[in-house]
């Protein structure tokens, strides 16, 4: 691999040939604002916020996400010219964007909001006609508010390039462009598989996880990184918790699942607070369950196990462990049967 050295904001850096200026800058810890860039998606070069000034190029301000480094290149990521152009781009986006941050689900994690703050964009010099669309809330998990969409295209790309579904794409041209399903139907009537990757990618509030709506914004929740309780891929995810309740699931990017989740991992947590949850031990009497204390229930189990072992031997007892509980619990379960009961009759449903 060949290496190229260049100067970014007065600092020398050496990176592999083919690296983009954006990546090279990140290597130096220089953060260039982006709305449409993601390192696992194809380069779109759509938002143009990552433009930089390259010495010797008097033609234009190239987008650093799509600009390969070149030997001896001198780049300015934050010059007055660049800042002014970024400001105008933000103003253009803002001119076509509802300013309802007060009630927006994305408040606090919205990148448009963040950059407007950073660049001191209070209002747009270019306000005028705005696009109007009805909110699509027919889908059980994903709500789409296209008026908030800034057309970064990340949802389109993740759906196509990662999920391989392609439920959405651009439709219309020019100022009337929008992201739509085939024939502009509701997302609920599309091939969408509800993975919610698009929500995760959305830099603004255009895509919302419906079950999380109104239950707490990003800065209000505690994120607990854990392992998904569904299939054997063991995806890492973050349970978003507010007031001792799970209110949503967000991605954990640096993980073996690359941050991606499926519908069950992202949305399948409601059972935790299902009203039918067992909240107390039950003992069956005359064919009917009654509530019992732990003390009573465990005494009964211990007594019965002891009786049966005494009468029929340890092998008259058996245990079925679970592929859903933790390693520690499986370990203790087999230890219980082997060390306490004295039988190897322990198995679990590995094969189902």
């Amino acid at each position: 691999m060949r290496f190229v050295s260049l100067t970014i904001d007065g600092r020398q850096v050496e990176v592999a040939e083919g690296t983009t200026v954006l990546e090279a800058a990140r290597k130096l810890g220089i953060e260039i604002p982006t709305l449409c860039y993601d390192n696992d998606l194809s380069i779109a070069g759509a938002c143009r916020l990552c433009i930089v000034e390259v010495e010797g190029n008097n033609k234009n301000l190239p987008a650093s996400c799509a600009l390969p480094v070149a030997e001896g290149m001198v780049v300015h990521t934050n010059s007055p010219k660049v800042r002014e152009a970024r400001k105008i781009i933000l103003e253009l986006l803002l001119a076509n964007h509802p300013l309802d941050c007060l009630t927006c689900e994305a408040n606090g994690r919205c990148k448009l909001q963040q950059y407007c703050y950073e660049y001191g964009v209070k209002e747009s010099r270019f306000s005028g006609e705005r696009r109007h669309f009805a909110i699509d809330d027919n889908h059980p998990f994903i709500e789409r508010d296209l008026e908030k969409c800034i057309l970064c295209g990340k949802c389109v790309r993740v759906c196509q390039e990662v999920q391989g579904v392609g439920a959405i794409d651009y439709s219309g041209r020019g100022f009337d462009t929008k992201v739509a399903t085939f024939m502009d139907r509701s997302l609920a009537d599309s091939p969408c598989v509800s993975c919610g990757q698009c929500i995760y990618m959305c830099p603004v509030g255009a895509l919302t996880a419906k079950p999380s709506k109104g239950k707490g914004r990003d800065f209000e929740v505690t994120k607990v990184v854990t392992t998904c309780g569904y299939c054997g891929v063991g995806c890492q995810l973050a349970l978003n918790v507010k007031d001792d309740k799970i209110v949503g699931v967000t991605n954990v990017p640096d993980s073996h699942n690359q941050g991606y989740l499926c519908v069950k991992g992202r949305f399948g947590y409601e059972f935790v607070d299902d009203p039918e949850r067992l909240t107390t031990p039950l003992i069956k009497e005359n064919g009917k369950f009654r509530e019992a204390s732990w003390e009573e229930a465990l005494d009964l189990v211990a007594q019965k196990f002891n009786e049966i072992r005494a009468k029929y031997g340890p092998d008259a007892l058996a245990g079925v462990s679970s592929a859903r509980v933790t390693n520690e619990e499986n370990y203790l379960f087999q230890k219980f049967f082997r060390a306490v009961i004295g039988t190897n009759n322990v198995d679990h449903c590995a094969r189902l």
Partner: protein, 619 residues
């Protein structure tokens, strides 16, 4: 149609050419030829009826003459055009021929040999058409247009068609071909003017077994039709150019991406392709060599942005036609990810003649940096609208006044928009600008694909800028922020100015925004879309200021800024205007001067048109 025989080698091709040439010469000396311009321009003007009238008349009178169709001759304003050549006599071009005129031509010229002077556009000696046809033109690319039947490969071969292909396959290595094109100085005729030979060398050097050549025939500029005319009038020149290019870069497959709005061009391309395939000029082991090439014609849906290389490739691949960032350039990763070379129709059509006549000859035409000729579509308020092919370096004045015949109704020239919606509007003081890539760019315009829209004194430049923004706003692909959102906002500012609601600060805002879009947009469409705004601001700023400061449109176009009033000294009180006014804004007693209520007036202009006494004025 005659059955075509496969040509197996170079000798057979040359023999065939000699035979066809001989046939043509013989036909000239013993047949009367009647040629009808059957390009889209001719057909739109009624050439089908003229053709039919001619055939009927010949039949009725039992006259033996060859009737031939040809593509656009270039004098679109004169369509339908009919040319008549009697053995040994001059070629006479007649313009604006009606079916009735056609009968006259047969009666007088064909039968009696008497030229119908009042219908003549031009006459010239056969064999030297290029010097005399349209003053100051130099027709290289259009050399065959008007001289061959585009649906007959024999006509093309008779005029040395496919001899360039034979030359490269027989005598040149791919590298030599690229060097030849480089040496000719040919630059891309689609817009940016990149050196064609250099571009080819990139695709040639790119690693990969599979490579493609593409012909960009997605001619999208409003008012530009040179590519269509070439495809309609001389399709084989495009095919031959692509074959040579494919050989040079090592491609074995090609696409012509042509907009579906060009049905005649598509038909003629398909015919040409079928003929070339039948004769073995396209296909496996062409002319007995190892070189093979297949060609597909892909119809595009007519999105302007699909003229952009990467959007065009996406469209061929069946995706939405949206540009993507470059690099990677198509030369390394193009169609289906393979090295791909794209040139437009006019560029490809230049290739055979360069190979035939040599790079040195070609490079002798034009200027230091812009070689050869350029075809322009001359439209707008000019007397001779049509296609003109001129050597690079000619001045705008020569094109507009010498070739175009000056401004319609001899009004005053105001501006010329060059390069389509992405081009710029140049004022009178730029008329002596030599037409070459660099001069135009310096002046704020671009060569583009070669649209020239001439505007007279009655044109409002703010309105013109707005017009082009309407176009680019609708044709933007919507991908990048500056283009999608920015054009809309520029347009809104212009709309306000045209309504008299603009401020001087708006001009600064407009200029800042225009420059930002130019600097930051993703593709050429966005980067050049502000050009009409920037050039009109640069050359016609006072006109903007008049709209803003004086609430006045100097050209009298912006309706919101106009006031209609009746000049009492001229008004006879005939009440004609009262009757046509759709909103009842005019009142007055009969035979006494009337008045217009400015509150009610919707400025439709009906009264002004109706008034026989020119009593209604606008200010």
């Amino acid at each position: 149609m005659s059955t075509l025989k496969k040509i197996n080698n170079f000798v057979e091709l040359r023999q065939l050419r000699e035979q066809l040439k001989k046939n043509y010469q013989e036909s000239l000396s013993n047949e009367i030829k009647i040629i009808v311009g059957m390009g889209t321009c001719g057909i739109a003007a009624g050439a089908n009826d003229v053709m039919k009238a001619i055939i009927d008349e010949l039949q009725r009178r039992n006259i033996n003459a060859t009737v031939m169709q040809t593509g656009c001759i270039g004098m679109c304003a004169q369509e339908p055009i009919v040319e008549i050549i009697r053995p040994g006599e001059k070629r006479v071009t007649y313009g604006r021929i009606s079916p009735a005129d056609a009968k006259r031509l047969i009666e007088e010229h064909v039968l009696q040999g008497r030229i119908v002077e009042d219908l003549v556009v031009a006459t010239f000696e056969e064999g030297h058409p290029d010097e005399t046809n349209f003053y100051k033109q130099q027709r290289l690319v259009l050399r065959n247009c008007g001289h061959i039947d585009p649906e007959k490969i024999e006509d093309y071969i008779a005029r040395d068609g496919y001899m360039a292909l034979a030359r490269v396959l027989e005598q040149m290595t791919p590298e030599e071909v690229i060097e030849e094109i480089k040496a000719s100085g040919l630059r891309g005729r689609g817009g940016a003017g990149f050196l064609t030979g250099l571009k080819w060398s990139f695709a040639a050097k790119a690693p990969g077994d599979k490579k493609y050549v593409i012909c960009n025939a997605d001619e999208g500029d409003p008012g530009a039709f040179m590519d269509r005319s070439i495809m309609e009038g001389d399709p084989h020149s495009v095919l031959e150019g692509m074959l040579i290019g494919a050989y040079a870069i090592g491609a074995d497959e090609g696409y012509i991406y042509v907009r579906a709005e060009y049905p005649l061009a598509i038909k003629r391309l398909r015919t040409a392709l079928a003929q070339a395939e039948e004769m073995g000029l396209i296909g496996k082991n062409i002319l007995g060599t190892d070189f093979s090439f297949t060609l597909h014609i892909k119809e595009g849906a007519g999105a302007f942005v699909c003229g952009e290389e990467t959007a065009l490739i996406a469209s061929i691949e069946g995706k939405r036609g949206m540009p993507r960032p470059r690099p990677p350039f198509p030369a390394t990763s193009g169609l289906w990810g393979k090295p791909t070379n794209i040139n437009n129709v006019e560029t490809w059509a230049n290739v055979p003649i360069i190979i035939r006549n040599g790079a040195e000859w070609y490079a002798s035409i034009g200027t230091e940096t812009s070689k050869g000729t350029k075809v322009f579509a001359l439209t707008g308020k000019v007397k001779n609208t049509g296609l003109v092919e001129v050597p690079m370096g000619i001045t705008l004045r020569e094109i507009i006044f010498d070739i175009g015949g000056g401004i319609l109704k001899d009004k005053k020239f105001k501006a010329v928009q060059i390069g389509g919606p992405s081009g710029g509007c140049l004022p009178e003081e730029k008329l002596d600008l030599p037409v070459d890539y660099e001069s135009l760019t310096r002046a704020g315009a671009i060569m583009g694909s070669g649209g020239l829209v001439v505007m007279d004194q009655n044109t409002c430049m703010v309105d013109v800028a707005k017009f082009f923004l309407n176009f680019t706003r609708a044709e933007s692909c919507g991908k990048c922020t500056p283009c999608r959102e920015g054009i809309q906002r520029m347009r809104e500012i212009l709309q306000n100015i045209c309504k008299g609601k603009g401020t001087l600060e708006d001009l600064d805002r407009l200029e800042t925004l225009a420059n930002t879009i130019k600097d930051t947009a993703l593709c050429g469409l966005g980067q050049t879309a502000p050009n009409p705004v920037l050039t009109t601001l640069r050359y016609f700023r006072e006109e903007y200021e008049a709209h803003i400061r004086d609430k006045r449109c100097p050209a009298g176009i912006c309706q919101d800024l106009l006031t209609y009033f009746i000049q009492p000294e001229l008004c006879r009180g005939c009440t004609a205007c009262v009757r046509v006014c759709p909103v009842g804004a005019i009142s007055g007693e009969v035979r006494k001067p009337h008045v217009i209520d400015p509150e009610k007036c919707i400025k439709c202009g009906s009264c002004k048109e109706t008034c026989r006494f020119s009593a209604i004025a606008v200010k």
